[in-house]
């Protein structure tokens, strides 16, 4: 019953699997995809005949739409497995569900699951590629890639992100985004400071996790290239992790006073959806460095790059034929 070994590079489970070179390869590929997305007809036949199935065991319309849009722009067929209507409610096991869908002929599963590690299990049960679209508190590698891509294109850089300084602020403990984005940024040469009270840090937030840890946001604000705000969830109030949302905003929110301290060049990022008035208490439209909308836009190009990288079986990158003559525009594209 154990499936034959498959090439691990056929799946994307953790950002660490890619390494710095792999991340840069995907970001370069995403530049080509961004060029495709700017065409009047943003569609290429790169993955024609491939089937991509989204299996979302946890609601996330945004991420699912982003992946499905990416797959469609590469001409893949898409299927959606909506858990609320599924047999999991009838007692079918996760493994049976995956094997049943796989039997219909699927080239890639895009998996969102509330349990850390679920995509790793699924990966062991299927020959198809598995793309982790967020698992529990553990990992969200495509978010990390789109974050890195957004920083790179906003700053007009190529290659890595050496020498940049970034702060990730908020509920790091329960955040797959923080884990993956911090890891990706550090692999690309960014100095990452995590800003949170002890209660919102993982039990061992040592140097394996970030370059520095502090609970004093004001100490780091002035010297940042990137300020990354995490979503603060109401339910954390019930677990005695912070006394109140108001106190959270006072200590860790981006208030008008803090925004005034930031350099106008500091990029402000958020994985969405934002809690306005909590982690971000100013209108992002008034912040010159806010790239929160670009993160969403870039998500499509980056996910196209990931799908193509895993399923494209050695084809030339779509857009590459124009990229040669048009490379300047493709790089500018992401920076708006």
């Amino acid at each position: 019953m154990t499936p034959a070994l498959k090439n691990p590079s056929r799946s994307l489970l953790d950002i660490e699997d890619l390494g710095a070179d792999g991340i840069i390869r995907i970001l370069d590929l995403a530049d080509h995809m961004a060029e495709v997305n700017r065409r009047p007809n943003p569609k290429v036949p790169a993955l024609r005949g491939k089937t991509v199935c989204s299996v979302f065991f946890e609601d996330s319309t945004r991420t699912r739409l982003s992946f499905e849009t990416a797959a469609k722009r590469l001409s893949a067929d898409t299927m959606t497995f909506a858990v609320s209507q599924s047999s999991l409610n009838k007692g079918e096991s996760l493994r049976d569900t995956i094997e049943t869908i796989a039997a219909m002929g699927v080239d890639a599963f895009v998996v969102r699951h509330g349990s850390s590690g679920a995509p790793h299990l699924i990966d062991a049960w299927t020959q198809a590629s598995v793309i982790n679209a967020g698992d529990g508190w553990h990992a969200h590698p495509t978010q990390a890639l789109l974050d890195a891509y957004t920083v790179r294109s906003a700053l007009g850089r190529t290659g890595g992100l050496d020498g940049l300084r970034m702060a990730i602020v908020g509920d790091v403990k329960h955040s797959r985004v923080a884990r993956s984005t911090a890891a990706a940024m550090r692999m690309l040469g960014v100095h990452v400071t995590v800003v949170a009270p002890r209660t919102l840090l993982p039990p061992d937030a040592s140097d394996a996790f970030a370059d520095a840890v502090t609970d004093r946001l004001d100490d780091v604000l002035a010297d940042l290239d990137v300020l990354y705000l995490l979503r603060m969830q109401q339910e954390r109030m019930n677990e005695a992790l912070v006394p109140s949302l108001r106190e959270y905003t006072t200590r860790f929110g981006l208030t008008t006073q803090r925004a005034a301290v930031l350099s106008p060049q500091t990029l402000i990022m958020h994985p969405g959806p934002m809690n306005r008035g909590v982690e971000i208490a100013v209108d992002p439209a008034e912040l010159p460095g806010a790239v929160i909308t670009q993160q969403v836009t870039n998500g499509i190009a980056v996910r196209m790059a990931v799908l193509f990288d895993l399923l494209g079986s050695g084809n030339t990158a779509p857009g590459a034929e124009t990229a040669d003559t048009n490379s300047d525009t493709s790089r500018e594209g992401g920076s708006q």
Binding site: L94, H113, S116, L121, D135
Partner: protein, 427 residues
């Protein structure tokens, strides 16, 4: 029936010697340098092998009644016999709970029906293990129950635990605690530390075990009533027990083979095979458990044998139940992992747990004429690997696949009956 065991290296509470041993009926009838095989019905050539009193496991989950798809008393007894055990204490978290004379009688009878080892039903401390009302200790003691525990859960309420100790006084029973302050482990799936931080999994902090252990040690000090502590897993727990014993408190403790052989790094594959309660801990904790066993702070090796059907373990970690098999690998893991004299390992597997379980009249006895023929014969040097498909347990959730184990049980004699011969169960 007469059975002759020749050339064995006997290791028992009286020490070590090389002798022939004759078993007649259910007792050892003769021990001598050399015995004549002429009138024996069966002869076991034990040259190069160790003959010891049968092992006693203070901690097994046999799943019957209630979860017979994972294990039955018969399949669990067979696994026990193959592991060299002649007695096992069956934990009470069955369905229905072992909280009444009817259920414990059923478990004992099923054990007798299987006839592969003695199955000693424990009783729960509270009705339904709900942590609210005490079970009828005296009635259950009258039905032969010696060990009481809510294992699977710790008794959270300190008042109830104090009352349980006071009420147990004089009944000839032992209360055994699963140390876990549940408010500190809600949702936890693995040891809280660097590894869980990296994997994004909710952590089970060591302090949750140590706080309850500390509380109960103080309740023992207050009441003067003894207690046994189940499956201790942390370095600090070993220290607490060592200090309490130095104070002369009447406590005993056990550790499992997995808590001295496997670390939390195993969870990096997200395989629920490695999910167990209490969780696998760090290298330092493993070293402390081994040291505790070596100096006698920890009295017994107990397996916490916890069978689970494959489909329940093929789930994300937070959904899969905790537990792993232990009976068939206990000796092999112990000898592969522990740097102790062989006699001390056998003591921790046999006569020390026999005393805690209240069965020292018939298990863990010296091998001498008139003694009970509950015996195990093993090769202490044989290196072997687990083949899951060949396990006698109905479940397959062993974490030891592919790991070389040292020391293999070849023959087990239960009440004079060779139930395991040449590493195979005879029924």
């Amino acid at each position: 029936m007469s059975l002759l065991i020749t050339g064995a290296r006997v290791i028992d509470p009286n020490g070590e010697r090389r002798v022939d041993v004759r078993v007649d009926g259910v007792i050892v009838s003769d021990v001598a340098d050399r015995l004549d095989p002429v009138d024996a019905d069966d002869v076991i050539d034990a040259a190069g092998l160790v003959l010891a009193p049968g092992f006693v496991d203070l901690h097994v989950h046999l799943r019957e009644p209630g979860r017979e798809e994972a294990e039955t008393i018969e399949t669990g007894s067979r696994a026990a016999a193959l592991g060299g055990f002649t007695a096992v204490v069956a934990m009470p978290n069955t369905d229905p709970t072992q909280d009444s004379v009817e259920v414990v009688d059923f478990v004992r009878r099923q054990g007798e029906r299987a006839g592969l080892c003695e199955v000693l039903p424990s009783g729960s401390i509270t009705i339904g293990r709900a942590g609210e009302r005490l079970t009828p200790f005296a009635e259950l003691a009258g039905a032969g129950v010696k060990i009481f525990t809510d294992d699977g859960n710790g008794v959270q309420d300190p008042l109830l635990m104090r009352r349980a100790l006071e009420y147990a006084d004089g009944l000839g029973i032992t209360l055994a605690q699963h140390c876990e302050v549940e408010r500190l482990t809600a949702g936890a799936v693995m040891h809280e530390g660097a590894c869980c931080s990296r994997l994004g999994l909710p952590g089970w902090p060591s302090i949750a075990e140590e706080l309850m252990l500390h509380r109960d040690i103080e309740l023992v000090r207050l009441t003067g009533v003894g207690m046994h502590f189940l499956h201790l897993s942390t370095a600090k727990s070993v220290e607490l027990v060592r200090a309490a014993k130095a104070d002369g408190l009447p406590i005993t403790a056990e550790a499992t083979p997995h808590h001295f052989s496997l670390t939390d790094e195993r969870l990096a594959t997200y395989d629920a095979l490695y999910k167990v309660n209490p969780p696998l801990r760090t290298r330092d904790d493993l070293a402390a458990i081994r040291a505790g066993l070596a100096d006698g702070t920890i009295d017994a090796i107990a397996t916490d044998h916890a069978p689970h059907a494959p489909e329940t373990k093929e789930q994300p970690l937070d959904q899969a139940p905790p537990g792993m098999l232990g009976l068939e690998t206990a000796l092999g893991v112990s000898l592969a992992s522990l740097d102790m004299e062989l006699v001390d390992v056998i003591a921790a597997l046999s006569w020390k747990p026999a005393a805690i379980a209240g069965v020292a009249d018939r298990h863990g006895r010296p091998i001498e004429p008139g003694g009970p023929a509950n015996l195990t014969i093993f090769d202490p040097d044989q290196v072997w690997e687990v083949v899951p498909a060949r396990l006698a347990s109905k479940s397959r959730n062993t974490p030891y696949i592919g790991m070389p184990l040292r020391g293999r049980v070849l023959h087990t004699i239960f009440q004079g009956d060779p139930v395991v011969r040449d590493g195979a169960a005879l029924r």
